[in-house]
């Protein structure tokens, strides 16, 4: 146990847990917020200075536990998680709720722990840690809807952990190993059931198609600041796990391609801008999963780079929409519009996020997404490549245009909210700066990637192709809007696959319950009827008025006795033998 604690104390997670324990005993106010701000800096410092290798090891029940496996893949994810935790803490400087502050620290800490875990048991512990810590960011909204949404989220997140531990146990039984390393072996045909379950667990948290809806259900239900935090960790932790354990698994290319496509359509008609961003997040995860599936050094670099950039621009978009929610009380497109008048800085930061996610040249998305697209093209996946280019136009439609346009422009909602608080503006400003900085100086990001990069995103052909795609799509938007083809934003929701477990399954269960109830009551009624009929009949025979109970005269008895004796005599006289 001491060995375990000793190993744990050198990990960045230790500091997050220490911060979470210290927070309640620190007086309320800036000091608490400062803790949430300082811990991610300490974490980044530890990760930056960590020597590549495997350490913080211990033995637990005969199993080799590794808490720090430092290589370029874990380092880049650890660094971006620390940066995201810092920016989210800065954005949440005003939050006084210690539950949210502690949850944020534990959530970020466990996600970073998962990234550095060198064995599957540690991964499982951190995996569940993220689930439990993060749900408090949804419950902190303190409404009935948020409570129930949080419960659904928790069931699915914990469920993925249960699937993971079952997979680990079966994999251990089959292979005798709990090492968290490449699990692909000779391809899917050689996998034991445990590996399939591990992949399923990763797929749940990575929001694979049909397993995705917990994301769009829960993220918009969290607090203003909670959603910013949520957007960074869980799904990218799953992407990291896929990149670590399943690189080059071909069918993931197709899973990823589907992920880039279907959220586009849902996002386009969604009214709640935070849910639009949740769909958009799902779409961006698709690009990363394609990168994992292709599995070359270039594509895995693309996945890591895109995760890095995506965490920043997605946080920026959630921050800007969160600032609007914070000032107006709503994030619904139908209720917003024209806010540029009084929230111009928030609008500018939102546009930077929108340009980054749309992959405009000189913004971060451009230098990361193109690694994945080119890797897909290099490896001759024309349909997947075409899907990704289509999805790139789709990203522009819902995140590039819809978010800034309907929040800050479109029709004038008449709302004149105050500009976002200063700390939010600083957090958004820093994030926006990072998005542009990476876009302008991609080589600094490329230096952090897991493999050597020999890639130049700023070629004439590449810039021209991307500009053509985006500017023509913008032109299409302008024409569709001008000629009234662009759909209005309406209050309402759209059903997704969660309808199956939120409406259909309860309806089926309700129907079955009613059916069993009706059948049971009818059977009981029928049995009662039969019993009553039997009782009546018996009463007729044996009851006080029944024939059996009737008083028989002695003469009748003698008569029957004489008949019986007579019959016996007759039989004897016949001499049958």
């Amino acid at each position: 146990m001491f060995e375990m604690l000793n190993a744990f104390s050198v990990t960045p997670v230790f500091w997050f847990i220490l911060g979470a324990l210290a927070l309640p005993i620190v007086p309320k106010g800036p000091l608490r917020a400062a803790i949430t701000l300082v811990i991610p800096i300490v974490s980044a410092w530890i990760i930056w200075n960590a020597t590549p290798g495997v350490y913080a090891t211990a033995s637990l029940g005969g199993l080799d536990i590794t808490l720090m496996r430092v290589d370029k893949l874990s380092t880049i994810f650890g660094l971006i998680f620390s940066l995201a935790a810092f920016l989210a803490a800065l954005y949440a400087w005003h939050v006084k709720d210690p539950v949210q502050q502690i949850a944020t620290l534990l959530y970020a800490g466990t996600a970073i722990g998962a990234v550095f875990a060198g064995d599957l048991i540690s991964l499982f512990v951190y995996w569940e840690g993220t689930a439990i810590a993060s749900v408090f960011l949804i419950w902190a909204r303190k409404t009935e809807g948020a409570y129930q949404t949080g419960m659904r989220y928790l069931v699915i997140q914990i469920g993925s952990g249960v699937v993971l531990i079952a997979g680990i146990a079966l994999h251990y039984q089959a292979s005798g190993s709990i090492a968290f390393d490449r699990l692909t072996g000779e391809g899917p045909q050689s996998w034991n059931i445990g590996i399939w379950l591990i992949l399923l667990a990763f797929g749940i948290k990575c929001a694979f198609p049909l397993l995705h809806n917990w994301l769009q259900d829960s993220y918009p239900a969290a607090t203003v600041t909670g959603t910013v935090t949520l957007s960074a960790f869980t799904t990218k932790m799953a992407v990291y796990c896929l990149a670590r354990a399943f690189p080059g698994t071909e069918f993931l290319i197709y899973v990823g391609a589907v992920m880039t496509l279907f959220p586009i359509f849902f996002a386009e008609i969604e009214n709640d801008l935070r849910r639009v961003l949740a769909y958009s997040l799902n779409n961006q995860l698709g690009f990363m999963v394609v990168g994992v599936g292709v599995g070359t050094e270039m594509s895995l670099n693309g996945t890591a780079a895109h995760a890095f950039c995506h965490i920043l621009y997605k946080a920026l978009l959630f921050m800007s929409v969160g600032a609007v929610l914070y000032r107006t009380g709503t994030s619904k497109a139908s209720e917003l519009g024209g806010l540029y008048r009084t929230m111009p800085w928030t609008m500018i930061f939102c546009i930077v996020g929108a340009a980054s996610i749309s992959a405009f040249p000189l913004f971060s998305g451009f230098v990361s997404k193109s690694l994945i697209l080119d890797a897909a093209a290099d490896n001759k996946y024309p349909i997947v490549w075409a899907a990704l280019v289509f999805a790139s136009a789709g990203v522009l439609s819902h995140s590039g245009i819809k978010i800034p346009y309907f929040a800050f422009f479109a029709h004038d909602s008449g709302k004149r909210p105050k500009e976002a608080p200063r700390h939010m503006l600083i957090a958004m400003g820093l994030t926006a700066f990072a998005c542009i900085f990476i876009g302008v100086f991609p080589e600094l990001l490329y230096a952090l990637l897991p493999y050597e990069v020999e890639y130049q995103p700023y070629t004439w052909a590449h810039v021209l192709a991307q500009l053509q795609l985006l500017v023509f799509a913008l032109f299409a938007f302008a024409l569709l809007m001008r000629y009234g083809f662009f759909p209005d934003e309406k209050r309402g929701i759209n059903v997704d696959t969660d309808w199956v477990y939120r409406k259909f399954a309860p309806a089926v269960v309700g129907f079955c319950t009613r059916l069993v109830s009706v059948v049971w009551s009818e059977m009981a009624r029928g049995a009662g009827f039969l019993l009553r009929a039997g009782q009546t009949k018996l009463a007729q025979i044996y009851g006080p008025e029944g024939r059996v109970a009737q008083v028989q005269p002695t003469g009748t008895m003698v008569l029957w006795l004489a008949i019986l004796l007579g019959a016996t005599l007759a039989i004897n006289l016949l001499d049958i033998s």
């Binding site: 005003h94 909204r141 009935e144 809807g145 129930q148 949404t149 918009p220 203003v224 359509f265 849902f266 386009e268 929610l325 914070y326 000032r327 009380g329 709503t330 540029y340 008048r341 009084t342 093209a377 024309p382 280019v389 289509f390 136009a393 789709g394 522009l396 439609s397 422009f409 004149r416 909210p417 105050k418 500009e419 608080p421 004439w460 052909a461 021209l464 192709a465 500009l467 053509q468 795609l469 500017v471 023509f472 799509a473 913008l474 299409a476 938007f477 302008a478 024409l479 569709l480 001008r482 662009f486 759909p487 309406k490 209050r491 309402g492 929701i493 759209n494 059903v495 939120r502 409406k503």
Partner: protein, 116 residues
């Protein structure tokens, strides 16, 4: 006091004031025209450089532009029908979702720009 009342009457920020020009119909028209001209430039720019794409389709003149235009248009038109199919009222999942709820005021700092 006078300063306060002056603040209260300021309808929008100076930056916002400048951006209101974007709402003028003539400016909107010019922006769309400018966008069209830029598209034409980008389309013709393909002539200046022969693309050697990984797939033959990429080498077509203005391929990315046409693809982007059509993809965007398809997405917008198709989602109109998708909404008819899957659109529901905000209270469809109530009370087990937040869609029909107001965000709790205690968590917000709703302020007007003119608030001092």
């Amino acid at each position: 006091m006078a300063k306060q009342s002056k603040k209260k009457t300021a309808p929008i920020t100076p930056l916002g004031e400048k951006l209101t020009a974007l709402e003028r119909p003539d400016i909107i028209k010019k922006m769309i025209l400018g966008l069209g001209v830029f598209c034409a430039f980008l389309f013709l720019a393909d002539l200046l450089h022969i693309r050697h794409g990984k797939f033959s389709a990429e080498d077509l003149l203005g391929f990315y532009g046409i693809y982007g235009f059509l993809a965007f248009t398809f997405i917008i038109i198709s989602t109109k029908y998708l909404r008819m199919l899957i659109g529901r009222t905000e209270s469809y999942y109530a009370p087990s979702s937040v869609d029909a709820e107001d965000y709790p005021e205690g968590e917000l700092d709703v302020k007007e720009h003119s608030d001092v």
